[in-house]
Symmetry: C2
Subunit: 217 residues, 2 copies
Amino acid sequence: MSEQAASRLDRRRARTRAALIGAAQELLAEDRTNVSVLEITQAADVGLGSFYNHFDSKEELFQAAVDQVLEAHGELMDRVTEGIDDPAEVFARAFRLTGRLHRRLPGASRVMLHHGPELIMSDHGLAPRALRDIKAALEAGRFTTADPELALVAAGGAVLALGQLLHDQPDRDEAASADALTADLLRMFGLDAAEAEEICRRPLPDLDELIAPASDA
Amino acid sequence: MSEQAASRLDRRRARTRAALIGAAQELLAEDRTNVSVLEITQAADVGLGSFYNHFDSKEELFQAAVDQVLEAHGELMDRVTEGIDDPAEVFARAFRLTGRLHRRLPGASRVMLHHGPELIMSDHGLAPRALRDIKAALEAGRFTTADPELALVAAGGAVLALGQLLHDQPDRDEAASADALTADLLRMFGLDAAEAEEICRRPLPDLDELIAPASDA
């Protein structure tokens, strides 16, 4: 096979895989995982046989679909907090933006809500980054909370539950809600009220520039 | 049919329904809802035909199983907070006990975790009671947080996520963790640190006396 043909094949394989993962993310977001592999390949518009070139089972595909949402979110959080020195502000920015993303990326948000509390202790996505930031803020004397894992539980549970509230109340202002909740968390971790609110009023990077439309599930 | 025979039949029907709901709660706790009605009736040790005397579909059974867990929990919280006047303490007691129940009733806890964030806005169980207590504490000037629904989101998300942490870390002290998290939430809602901690050190009713062994899923 020529190099050109091999590269065409690679691109086609990548497209098939992406189509399967996209279909799985839609099914996860709609809580419709009780479907056959045939139905998944039909939703992805790929041949039934090509499924097994990529995944051994439906479960493996769904796991890959969740991991991809978490990794994309984690990488986005790395980009938007790059160059910020204060771990309290890194934490705040990630949570203020994650709150807004429930509206901006509703498919990815519903995948996260469907997986719920187990994500909070996951090694992927926001959780390990938030735990790192909480520990750094404790070491720097910015936070005074006693138990970083309990702090992660409180923050992660709250930001997931905020997604549910925003989906249930489509008219609720997601930016104001995310900022108020983040300020509450900062106060809970030991910042005084005035500083917590000031940090949560600081300008944020533009999400439109950061998210390509295709990146939603 | 004699009255006696009718009452025997009623008891038998109730036992069948309870067996089906118990089997559904076990499947929910293990995240194994992708099963057939036949498998459910086998797990419940009842005849396949009797399923449809009680439920039209698997989905209806699983919904009934979740509602029963939530209602049992809500009623327990009503009993353990009866006669307490301070809404901040009512809130605290319900959250301190709910945290402990993740260990004491692991099946019910896993049903709640499986349903995750959507329970936090549910009309059943702890959520409507917590929202009522938060609003009462705001009216009484005990809490100063601006938005009771955001407060519910923070508290509900945290107490669910605590369950995940306790299941992931079997050696973690559930009483100390639940009390520390509740004190954090009370501070977040406006109580000063000393009072929040004092409220979370007050004696609790004995859970063993409140929970019959059969009430776990």
